[in-house]
């Protein structure tokens, strides 16, 4: 898939662990792991909203499009 999830980059910038994000957003660790590794097929707006809210960032900073990959 051409959509890349840069969740780990954002977590490093905010110096936040995956467990902390999981607690604040209310998503299980396994689901966050699926999202981080790029295995997810789709993402709900509510999830994106919650993550952006906690990480104080824009959706474009989390999601990236790379053509031909």
């Amino acid at each position: 898939m051409c959509i890349i999830v840069n969740l780990d980059v954002m977590l490093a910038r905010r110096k936040m662990s995956l467990t902390e994000l999981s607690e604040k957003v209310g998503i299980t660790m396994s689901n966050l792991s699926i999202l981080k590794t790029g295995k997810a097929k789709a993402m709900r707006f509510s999830t994106l909203d919650a993550i952006c809210n906690v990480l104080e960032c824009q959706p474009g900073e989390i999601l990236e499009f790379k053509s031909g990959k």
Partner: protein, 166 residues
């Protein structure tokens, strides 16, 4: 693992199917008694014995298929009871069940056909009776299971997609 209570309708279907299939097996075992005794008029003892053995071999295959279908159906119902509906194993089971039912229909028709070919001239029976005794209901049931397998495969695809939606 958390055990879930099954819907009562599934249990009823399971037990009715069990009784029907066991009854079918008991009925089919009656085939073995057919043709025993002295050979009918116009048929030698040897040909009568050969006809009997061929018909019986096919009958054994028919009973075996009925038994396999019963076991597969049982496993399928148990899986659905345990909330494992859209799994690849169930799709495989439905396909096997469907093909074994088709084979069951064809083999039971062959068994009747062989019976009439070998023994009809001696017993003065009409060939028309073969087509009257063909089990169209089971054939439609097999096609239904095949279609259900396809529906389950679509369900599995949708469930996988839902699982990967965060």
């Amino acid at each position: 693992m958390k055990s879930t209570k099954s819907p009562i309708s599934l249990l009823i279907i399971y037990w009715v199917a069990n009784f029907l299939l066991v009854g079918l097996i008991i009925l089919l075992t009656g085939i073995f008694t057919r043709g025993k005794g002295p050979a009918p008029q116009g048929l030698s003892e040897d040909s009568f014995a050969m006809a009997n053995s061929v018909v019986n071999i096919v009958a054994v295959l028919v009973i075996f298929l009925a038994f396999v279908s019963l076991l597969i159906f049982r496993k399928l119902i148990l899986n659905i009871k345990g909330n494992q509906t859209f799994v690849s194993g169930n799709i495989r089971r439905l396909r096997i069940l469907s093909f074994s039912l088709i084979a069951f229909c064809l083999l039971s028709a062959l068994q009747k056909w062989l019976f009439f070919i070998f023994l009809a001239p001696a017993l003065h029976l009409e060939m028309q009776e073969i087509w009257n005794s063909f089990n169209y209901f089971l054939l439609f049931l097999a096609l239904f299971f095949l279609a259900l397998g396809h529906v389950f495969s679509i369900g599995l695809k949708l469930q996988r997609e839902r699982d990967l939606t965060i």
